[in-house]
């Protein structure tokens, strides 16, 4: 009865072969067998979305699926984001967005939010606020409130678009008024820390503080 089964999961591009019990949940396989603890478990009921991962590109709740059911599939977790082609030096534009726009406080919901955000932007690079709210409607956040999370995803959509235009123009972004700015200048302008927002954590942080914190906790 306690037979295990060998399954193959390709997670963030790396193939893993592991032995699992049929009752093993996918989220436990990811966290405990593969040691990828970026994917969180927040509830016991399939409600919170903290365990969201992409299975063959689609967001699913990895606590509502057995590991055996993911045999042979391609999974993406938060750990894979910085290796994506659209990621800059260290962070993916979505992760950068959450930093710039205060999209997190305790961060518990963040990996799931990032996965739902990623699935949305893959399908719809220019989503409306309503579409963003719909895409993250299966993800609960108990501390940040959703305003800043929506802004974080909007930030990423803009960054990704700017990145694409820049790539098409050979690295030079054309501003709305026709003048050209370099991607570095643009990041500076957009990256300016601007709080005064409802639901902000209220921390007296400057942009530089954010950068040094993010630099300090490279995961």
């Amino acid at each position: 009865m306690t037979d295990t089964r060998e399954i193959t999961l390709t997670v963030n591009g790396t193939e893993h072969t592991i032995d699992v019990e049929p009752r093993q949940l996918l989220v436990h396989a990811i966290r405990e067998e593969l040691d990828l603890t970026g994917t969180h478990i927040g509830c016991d009921t399939g409600n919170c979305g903290a365990c969201t991962v992409l299975k063959d590109g689609e967001p699913i709740k990895s606590c509502l699926m057995f590991a055996t059911q993911a045999d042979g599939s391609e999974l993406m977790t938060v750990e894979g984001m910085e290796d994506l082609p659209e990621a800059g030096e260290d962070l993916h534009p979505l992760q950068e967005g959450f930093r710039e726009e205060h999209g997190l406080q305790c961060g518990y919901c963040t990996p799931g939010m990032l996965m739902s955000g990623k699935a949305l932007l893959d399908e719809n690079p220019d989503p409306s606020e309503e579409e963003i709210r719909e895409a993250i409607s299966g993800n609960l956040c108990r501390c940040t409130g959703y305003q800043n999370i929506v802004r974080s995803i909007e930030y990423a959509a803009e960054e990704l678009e700017a990145g694409e235009i820049a790539a098409a123009d050979g690295g030079v972004v054309t501003d709305a008024d026709g003048s050209t700015i370099t991607p570095a200048e643009m990041t500076d302008a957009d990256g300016e820390f601007d709080c005064g927002v409802e639901n902000c954590c209220g921390g007296p942080m400057t942009d530089r503080d954010h950068d040094s914190i993010a630099g300090g906790e490279s995961e």
């Binding site: 009865m1 306690t2 037979d3 089964r5 019990e21 049929p22 009752r23 949940l25 016991d44 009921t45 399939g46 409600n47 979305g49 969201t52 689609e58 967001p59 699913i60 709740k61 606590c63 509502l64 699926m65 057995f66 055996t68 059911q69 739902s116 719909e134 895409a135 409607s137 299966g138």
Partner: protein
């Protein structure tokens, strides 16, 4: 909590699944798992064997054929949500799909699994009732077709035989002047319904209601038809006065229970309002040019 130990089988065909059902004693079917995985984890279900039907080929269709809209047993809520055919021709299905749970759950959960689950708070049961649809099941003796009306027995209990597998949910393709809609009241995105109403109207050439069918969510021990309201509507011209009376009749016939979401009286009033709104949308979609009933 961890699920108790179980063995899994992953049949490739319907026949194989049915013969597993027949030969194994203590087993459960696993489709989208969005209800079953929590039931296993909380040990509400403790089967020795789980028959995971996700590997069966050819059960994930959503198509019109021979006068039926046919929904295969592995068609996910998201497939309905994204279907252009549904968007164009099946108002109530198009209304319902995005209201079931949340995007992640809709990517896995199936329409057939939700019907099999027979949760009185489930949305699809009301829609299939309002469309006078059928459940197609495969058992050891072949195929059996169960009218939706005869399907739901009790909460989480149906007339499906224990050796039968649902292969398809189907509803008749729309008549020329037919429209349908679903309205659902819930506390927040992703929640089950506090109350819901699915309405379908077929008009005759004169614009009178030839056929009316209404399915209600979360206000009885199963999804139920609001037959008194239906009888009142038939033969009438659609309009806010008849819809108002139909709403009242649906509310009177419903049997909601008081709970943390509201008392029974409140829910009855909501059945009234939701039914009027669903009827208004259904009439509009049936081709009647009329302003939507507002309250």
């Amino acid at each position: 909590m961890k699920a108790a130990q179980f063995e899994t089988h992953e049949p490739d065909t319907v026949e194989e699944a049915v013969s597993l059902l027949e030969s194994l004693d203590d087993r459960a079917i696993l489709a989208g798992g969005q209800s079953m995985v929590p039931m296993l984890r909380f040990r509400l279900a403790v089967p020795e064997t789980v028959i995971d039907i996700n590997c069966i080929d050819g059960l994930d269709y959503l198509e019109e054929e021979d006068g039926w809209l046919r929904i295969g047993a592995l068609t996910r809520h998201a497939d309905v949500e994204e279907s252009a055919l549904i968007d164009e021709r099946y108002g109530s299905f198009a209304d319902t799909a995005p209201l079931v749970a949340d995007p992640q759950i809709r990517n896995r959960g199936t329409v057939a699994g939700a019907i099999a689950q027979a949760d009185p708070k489930g949305d699809w049961g009301s829609v299939v009732l309002a469309h006078e649809g059928e459940v197609v099941a495969q058992g050891p003796d072949g195929e059996r077709v169960i009218p939706a009306e005869d399907f739901f027995l009790l909460p989480y209990d149906t007339t499906l035989d224990e050796n039968e597998l649902i292969t398809e949910i189907r509803v008749p393709t729309p008549a020329p002047r037919e429209g349908s809609a679903y309205h659902k009241l819930k506390r927040k995105v992703g929640d089950y319904a506090m109350a819901g109403s699915a309405a379908r109207l077929v008009l005759d050439e004169d614009g009178r209601i030839e056929n009316a069918a209404i399915g209600l969510t979360a206000v009885d021990i199963t999804n139920v038809r609001a037959t008194d309201a239906e009888d009142h509507l038939e033969g009438e011209r659609p309009g806010s006065e008849v819809f108002k009376r139909a709403g009242e009749l649906a509310a009177e016939q419903s049997n909601p229970e008081s709970d943390e979401h509201g008392d029974a009286g409140y829910k009855e009033r909501m059945v009234n309002v939701l039914t009027q709104r669903a009827l208004g949308d259904a009439a509009e979609r049936a081709g009647l040019v009329k302003r939507r009933v507002s309250q």
